[in-house]
Symmetry: C2
Subunit: 408 residues, 2 copies
Amino acid sequence: MRDFLPEQMKKKQFIEDKIRRVFEKYGYEPLQSPVVEDFDLLAAKGSGGEAIKEEIYYFKDKGDRELGLRYDMTVPLARIVASNPSLPRPFKRYVIGQVYRYDRPQAKRYREFTQADWDIIGVKSVLADFEVIQVAIDLMRSLGFEFTVKVNNRIVLEELAIKMGVKEEQIKEAFKSIDKLDKISEKGVRDEFKSKGIDDSVLEQIFVNSFDEVKARIGETESLKELEQLLELAKDNDYNEVKFELSLARGLEYYTGVVFEISINDGPSVAGGGRYDKLIGLYGGQDSPAVGCSFGVDRLFDNLEKELVMGPNTDVFIIPMSDNAFSFSTKLSRKLRETGISVELDLMGRNVKKNFEYVNKKGISFVIVIGENEVKSERFKVKEMASGSEKEFQINDLSKILGFIKGQ
Amino acid sequence: MRDFLPEQMKKKQFIEDKIRRVFEKYGYEPLQSPVVEDFDLLAAKGSGGEAIKEEIYYFKDKGDRELGLRYDMTVPLARIVASNPSLPRPFKRYVIGQVYRYDRPQAKRYREFTQADWDIIGVKSVLADFEVIQVAIDLMRSLGFEFTVKVNNRIVLEELAIKMGVKEEQIKEAFKSIDKLDKISEKGVRDEFKSKGIDDSVLEQIFVNSFDEVKARIGETESLKELEQLLELAKDNDYNEVKFELSLARGLEYYTGVVFEISINDGPSVAGGGRYDKLIGLYGGQDSPAVGCSFGVDRLFDNLEKELVMGPNTDVFIIPMSDNAFSFSTKLSRKLRETGISVELDLMGRNVKKNFEYVNKKGISFVIVIGENEVKSERFKVKEMASGSEKEFQINDLSKILGFIKGQ
């Protein structure tokens, strides 16, 4: 787990603010749930079960209740939707918050990390699949990334695999191997198919990766039509980042339709998601169609930290030269802040030279020095650091000062 | 622990955004630390020690390391400052985040709650004490509260108590009783003093609560002068909410100077803080003067939830009448969002009547219906819900549409 010191945290916050703004442009609304959840709930999703204890922060409270720190944002969402049947449909929520995994520590892998998730509950239409992907694209563009969105449909892959001789009961294992393609390469996947006794003719199709060939093999199934419609909407909207990728299976078994993954070009995967129509039912709610996506904010941060340059929050720095200047200086800073300007006061009682060093280091643009004369005359100069130019004002000239500072 | 559903979370976020804006107007910078801390660190502060296990979420990880969920934001701050000696001075940080206490559940007491903290590290001057209080005032005003800031100085109270016959070794117990004044009233405090064998003549002073009388008793001590200067700065700035309150001791022993507490008038206490010059040293750093304040965001939320009315995030709602309208509708929504407008698309395939019900319920101001004709002609009407007036546009009239929507 790591601390984000101010220089880093300002950048992380910049990223999170951008993300939030994108969510709001699509009408998503925020939801907050506790970091601690019942262990039973955490274990229910996917094939986790008891085994998940090894991968999460698990503990008992004083009442011997089994608890854990949430390891994703989908479980809390499913719990909340299942237990609040009156939530309107579509239910479009976003969340930016911390999740926890008890991984072995590695470089660039953290046990606490920030996820930005958005999901649409209650919609079966491909429009929802498309919108979730569209949000991801908007988000990556707003942060200036070049990126690729790989899209597939798990059912299409399943239909193709069965067609090509994979047995129903082998699907799970076959997908596990296909998912490793990036890691173990073509030969590795072939070897695994062989050793598992799975017909590997489906792999030809995967390496060719042609939508039309898949269509020719399995025909116009429901899932294929959905996928086709999705790819067409992406094309109509000039989303050239979107690519069909038949090898994308995404391990998590709970996906029931479209799946996708976003990677920085020549860089890591930063997000993934898909449709999961059975999960809400698993949490005791009525079955409800659902599609969503999850971004790793830490990965975005790690990729942007070096290029991002954050300006100072502070517009004006006021230097009271002695205790006698405190009263006037605090009044002036208060009035300036009331106009919406950010003001810092020298709290350290440093001399003027040291203060100017501080101001330059921080990149603050304007300085006001308050000495005996300024207190007596109630007039003071505002100095622009870049040009060195100064202008005299009195305390009630607020709109003039604002004009000088904002360059109007 | 509780969930914040969207209607609530929008309000909580509104409050947090206001708070953050106030922090930034004073040049505070954000800091983020993990929710999980080493138990040793959590136990080090104040008189906590092992006993604190009962009040916090304590557990061991798989490596048998003793951990806990943070119960405040001061411990992580002290740890970070102690272990990062190169952080600039003054170090002014803010944080808005979750903390955890294992309280017995009660109405309006939560085991997970949000704190907004701001602290100044490295400054001994009363200017820092004043600024921390000033931020609290700004924050309460920005949220529209009527409130009181009670201010005292623990050293002044201690000096007075000693002067009035309380023995040095009784101070701790005396303060504990004084702190209960609100709960057990004057008589209760008197009874406790008697049963503890403490001279109770200091209580007269406390009930009289006159700064001048205290000054007459203990003289112009360093601490008294600080407190006087602070109260004068408040007066100079017309902060009529600030009141001297001699009975304010604030239990936590780590306070070493000014202490203060903010309450909503006729309502609960929502924040408190003070000076704690010894804490950083306790965490292995160089002793460093420090002053800070902590707001309970949940209490602010609970007090504002009913009055706050949040508008919709969405400006425009687009209704595609059929699958054939998907392509045009997604393009239009994309282009509108690129201008900065928030747009929702009907994902549910509802009929027009149902969609208008949804739009009215959400309070969305503008609607566009895309049917066969609109797709063919590439012209469509934007309807303003309040007035019922409509205006026709085509897809490239973006600035005109923006003008119509923003009322320019």
